[in-house]
Amino acid sequence: MSLSTMLASMGEGMLRTCLIFFLTLLFSLPLGMVIMFMRRSRILLIRGIAHILIAVLRGTPLMLQLLMWYFGPFYLFGWSIRGYRFTAIILGFSINYAAYFAEIYRGGFESISKGQYEAAEILGYSRVQTFFKIILPQVIKTILPSVTNEIITLVKDTSLAFTLAYNEMFSLAKQIAASQTSFMPFIIAGVFYFVANYAVAFGMERVEKALDYYH
């Protein structure tokens, strides 16, 4: 098998990997905000639920969570859902990453001094204005480095989708490597992850630089 054929057969897997990556970010970033607000809720029950949710999601392997999402409906409720595989993957990834993002957000919000809220209140800003104009921009600046870390981990974690026999890039690489007794697919996979993460780090650094005008 020539290199170009190999690349071509892995190409579709790369697209699937990218799809997992972008969909997970799309859902987990806002969902993390929801979990963070639950975690900071004044109501004990909601706070407790968020606390347990985060503990379980961070305390068990993502691979296990993926299996739970995929097989859970059948074994627990006897449901068999058609074409559920991809949904299970996105559910598993998004909810797992949301838990991590929630904790990152929480750290960011807790780093903002009480004085910022009080100044905004005295100046007459509404709660919504205070959140979006005063607090959130400062939180985003604070959490960027941690978010970058998480995103880089996500790029690599997409390979866990092989657990549910989803043919993302790394699954294909392993198949081709086995059938062709070649090491090349692994090198291609390595270069792919590396380049993707280099791009992520580069982009995020640009954003950090853009926010560097104050501290």
Partner: protein, 252 residues
């Protein structure tokens, strides 16, 4: 009358911080509040600006009573919306400035008038620049707070409060976070405002300043007003032993 506070009581977890305090401020008056740490001075300002809720008592701004003691002896506040309309009567300058670090000096001053009071942006910009010029900061309008000295930051904070045109301005130890040199430039600005008949209540440890600038001085200790009067009387001829003792400690 700008502000009338009557019978203000406030406790934090069983500790009585304010015991039946009253404060009356007329238009154009400068009132200084002095006293040892923990005497309740800052808490009084925080209650006056609704950052803390009083347990009992009455707070009236102009002709609107924002807080009154209800039938059960507990303070009753106006509903949220009406309380907000009372908030436009006052401004507060914090000890720690609390400028918005991600906004330029000019945006710090302009943002609330434009986005809270919904005033015309160009008009606000002109006014903001005029206020900054008065604070001797017009050349730093595009700077960010982190690029300024503490004294400059506090002057921006004063400009930010003034831009909303409050009827009364509170200062909570405005120079306590500053070194002596920077303290001077902030006090100068407050003094200038006093000359323009801005109504102000200043919690301060700067005794010579309080004596020179205020129309009235309140000495607070342990949650009560021990003594109040004209600064020359309170500083020159204090009637209470506790006041004398406090002032002696300052004359070092």
């Amino acid at each position: 009358m700008i502000l009338q506070m009557n019978g203000i009581q406030k406790s934090f977890g069983g500790l009585e911080v304010l015991k039946d305090i009253s404060l009356h401020v007329d238009a154009g008056e400068v009132v200084s509040i002095i006293g040892p740490s923990g005497s309740g001075k800052s808490t009084l300002l925080r209650c006056a600006t609704f950052l803390e809720k009083v347990d009992a008592g009455e707070i009236t701004y102009m002709d609107t009573t924002a807080v009154r003691t209800g039938g059960d002896g507990h303070a009753v506040y106006l509903p949220h919306k009406e309380l907000n309309s009372v908030k436009r009567y006052f401004g507060l300058v914090f000890q720690q400035f609390n400028l918005f670090p991600h906004y330029s000096v000019l945006k710090n001053v302009m943002d609330a008038p434009v986005h809270v009071q919904k005033r015309n942006k160009e008009e606000v910009r002109e006014e903001a620049m005029a206020i900054l010029k008065k604070m001797d900061l017009d050349t730093r309008a595009d700077a960010y707070p982190c690029q300024l000295s503490g004294g400059q930051q506090q002057r921006v904070a004063i400009a930010r409060a003034l831009a909303l045109k409050p009827a009364i301005l509170f200062f909570d130890e405005p120079t306590s976070a500053l070194d002596p040199e920077l303290t001077g430039e902030v006090l100068k600005v407050i003094r200038q405002l006093a000359e323009e008949k801005m109504t102000m209540v200043v919690v301060t440890h700067e005794m010579p300043f309080a004596r020179a600038v205020s129309n009235r001085v309140l000495f607070m200790d342990k949650g009560v007003v021990v003594e109040q009067g004209h600064p020359e009387d309170v500083f020159g001829d204090p009637q209470q032993e506790r006041t004398r003792q406090f002032l002696r400690n300052y004359q070092r």
